[in-house]
């Protein structure tokens, strides 16, 4: 009896020669179709470290991750570790279910930050951990990556764009560059299991992309529609 090699869902450890490697075993849908099309496994990978490199931290990553976070938010907390600005609770919580938990950690030292990240990831209690680490060694990143291997936690570390030349253990490294028109340009710096692709532009951009509303409430009207209506146009 022959086994069809074209079977749609082979074993995760088996992949076609045309693929660069096995896709991640478990992913979280990104909510951005144009981005998902290029990511191996078509989503944010679990059990590894995801690294974002951006020239101005805070300007693009929140809107990029928000659709994914809205899916996992709930009883398991989502951690913001050392965010670049004070977070706005409504901005984060609005698209999430009412019982979602969000914790803001502001450790005093880098050692405490890394310790807290390690504990949060190892405990497996968190849905997602987002950390802004302007200064961190490759060794620390490697340990975080190891800690993430067993954890059912989405771990995203945001670092300065200048670090893109440094070595990193993260299997997925994305450069996020805010374009002149406010959109987010995603550079695929490193993608284990994927193929080299040109940078793409994620439509919408922060603040203007429609906020994914929870199923219970009605969707927000897009502010772009209001713009088209000509209201603030007179001001500009």
């Amino acid at each position: 009896m022959s086994v069809s090699v074209a079977s749609p869902a082979p074993h995760p450890a088996v992949w076609r020669a045309t693929q660069a490697g096995p896709p991640p075993s478990r992913v979280l849908a990104t909510g951005h179709p144009e981005l998902a099309a290029h990511l191996p496994g078509r989503g944010w990978p679990y059990h590894c470290l995801i690294e974002f490199l951006t020239p101005r931290p805070g300007r693009s990553e929140a809107s990029l991750l928000q659709p994914a976070l809205a899916q996992v938010a709930g009883n398991a907390p989502i951690l913001l570790v050392q965010p670049p600005h004070p977070p706005c609770a409504q901005g984060w919580l609005a698209p999430w279910p009412a019982d979602a938990r969000l914790w803001w950690l502001q450790p005093a030292t880098l050692a405490d930050t890394l310790w807290a990240l390690n504990q949060a990831v190892r405990s497996g209690a968190c849905a997602a951990v987002l950390a802004w680490l302007p200064e961190v060694t490759e060794l620390a990143l490697r340990r975080l990556h190891l800690a993430a291997q067993a954890a059912p936690t989405l771990l995203v570390v945001v670092r300065p764009w200048a670090c893109r030349r440094q070595n990193s253990p993260a299997p997925l490294r994305l450069g996020l560059l805010p374009g002149k028109a406010g959109e987010t340009e995603v550079h695929f710096l490193k993608m284990r299991g994927g193929r080299p692709v040109q940078p793409i532009v994620v439509a919408g951009g922060p603040g203007v992309a429609p906020v994914p509303a929870p199923a219970s409430s009605t969707a927000m009207p897009s502010p772009l529609a209001a713009l088209a209506g000509g209201g603030p146009g007179a001001l500009a």
Partner: protein, 506 residues
């Protein structure tokens, strides 16, 4: 199940209560405790000098001037014995405290639990390891038998498992160990009766007539022919234990070791009360005197009350690692209570996925190391002003569960980042500008008019704007001011700009 009793006697309880072991090395060898001008307890060194229990203090002092005497401290004795009783709760809940210096434990079931007598004794030794007093252990099939073996002279066999060997050992003991026999001491001496065995061989009817029912009953209880009525000891409602190590504690690891001992006692207490606690306080006592310091207190709390050693230990150890010791610690004290009821075990077949024990355990750990102010939870307030609505509280203060959300009808579009205080924006050519470049307004306005009831009307139009770098920010214009309406360039120099930067989209 065969009954088996373990007697724990504290032979020098009075002395241990007065002089801590830490001080003992600096003291003369011979020690005695007095009560109402009579010697109440002596240590072996004092015994060698000829000091006997019941001697008048003046006689004792005359006999040996080097003897150190002190008044008995019954309250401290009770504390010490209670600590032992608490530690023994880990061995068996069936514990009686019939005399000040004697604990009786029914360990018939525990022998099976620990897998034999030797492991049981090891467990008892483990519980006694941290206790600052001497104990004598005796094991026998009857409670009174065990107590008698515990009181026997040094060198006597103290562990018997069978009825026959108990009889053999008891027969050899002098009868004056039995308090019920003391009133008839002269008569028994005259009879030539020296041992419990001899007492047992006397004709029963005559003994009953001469000495009454009590002596016979006591004899029967000792030999296991009759059960001894005992009231089980109930652990106290509040936990409070103090530990004085032999030497002052200088380093955190030493404190950790002692705190571990106290925590084990706390867990034994919780096991005995079948409860859990959410908060305990570790007290640090320092040397008193001129260079002394008042005691310090380190409260440790769990988000979810627990009764297991590991859950407490992780948080306590983290909190202690952060705690600086200002001076050598001479005593540690752990207090907690009252115990709360434990949750009922889950009745579902599989674990409930919504169980948030993991998250709460993580929270405790983070708070223990980073401090409560560094771990914050949103506590949104029902206010239209974004800076008032966006409240973050340390997790210890934030309400558990769902926070109050802004009133219905509130536009949900808020940026993920909100500045602590709005920053003024310059105005270029009548438009808000950052770094000299005018901002492009993308969306808005969202009009807020609020707080008029506080006498400070806040009238703002919020816009989503984009700066020259392509970054999107959240700005507002204060309405009701004359500036900003006009489009005449240069006007902004005369007055404050009505434009403010309040947040960043990202």
């Amino acid at each position: 199940m065969k009954a088996l009793w373990l007697a724990l006697r504290m032979p020098t309880l009075g002395i241990d209560a007065v002089w801590s072991r830490r001080l003992r090395s600096a003291l003369p060898e011979a020690l005695a405790v007095q009560e109402q001008n009579r010697i109440w307890q002596v240590n072996p060194a004092a015994e060698r000098l000829g000091i006997a229990i019941g001697m008048r203090t003046a006689d004792a002092r005359a006999r040996s001037p080097s003897l150190l005497m002190a008044e008995r401290q019954p309250a401290r004795e009770r504390e010490l014995a209670e600590a032992v009783a608490l530690a023994m709760q880990a061995v068996t809940p069936q514990l009686a405290w019939p005399a000040d210096d004697l604990l009786l434990l029914e360990v018939g079931g525990s022998v099976r639990l620990f897998g034999g007598v030797r492991p049981l004794i090891r467990e008892v030794r483990h519980g006694l390891a941290g206790q600052p007093l001497d104990t004598v252990m005796a094991l026998a099939p009857s409670a009174r038998g065990a107590a008698l073996l515990g009181r026997a002279r040094r060198g006597a066999r103290r562990r018997v498992l069978s009825q026959a060997s108990l009889r053999r050992e008891l027969d050899r003991l002098p009868w004056d160990l039995l308090p019920e026999a003391l009133p008839h001491a002269e008569w028994l001496d005259n009879l030539g009766c020296r041992t419990l065995g001899g007492l047992g061989r006397l004709p029963q009817a005559g003994l009953r007539r001469r000495a009454g029912e009590e002596l016979l009953q006591a004899l029967e209880e000792a030999y296991g022919a009759r059960p001894q009525p005992l009231a089980w000891w109930q652990p106290p409602a509040h936990f409070r234990q103090r530990f004085e190590p032999f030497y002052p504690l200088l380093e955190v690891p030493q404190v950790l070791e002692v705190a571990g001992l106290l925590l084990r006692q706390l867990c034994a207490w919780l096991a005995a009360r079948h409860g859990r606690v959410g908060r305990c306080v570790l007290g640090f006592h320092y040397e008193s005197g001129r260079a002394g310091r008042p005691p310090d207190h380190l409260p440790v709390a769990l988000a979810e009350p627990d009764w297991q050693f590991d859950a407490w230990w992780r948080v306590l150890a983290e909190a202690l690692q952060r705690h600086a010791l200002p001076a050598p610690v001479i005593a540690l004290e752990l207090s907690a209570g009252p115990a709360l009821a434990r949750p009922k075990p889950s009745e579902t077949l599989f674990a409930d996925p919504a169980d948030d024990r993991d998250a709460l355990a993580l929270l405790d750990l983070l708070v223990a190391r980073l401090g409560a102010p560094a771990v914050r939870q949103p506590a949104p307030q029902p206010d239209y002003r974004p800076e008032r609505a966006n409240v973050w509280l340390p997790v210890s203060e934030a309400p558990h569960g769902v926070a109050v959300f802004p009133p219905p009808g509130m536009p949900a579009r808020r940026p993920p980042w909100l500045l602590d205080a709005p920053q003024p924006l310059s105005v270029v050519a009548g438009r808000p500008a950052r770094e000299g470049v005018p901002l492009r307004l993308l969306a808005g306005p969202e009009r807020l008019e609020t707080a008029w009831w506080e006498g400070r009307l806040q009238a703002r139009d919020y816009f989503v704007a984009q700066d020259a770098n392509g970054d999107r920010c959240w700005i507002f214009r204060e309405r009701g001011t004359s500036v900003g309406r006009g489009s005449a360039p240069g006007m902004e120099e005369n007055d404050a700009s009505p434009w403010w930067l309040h947040g960043w989209f990202g």
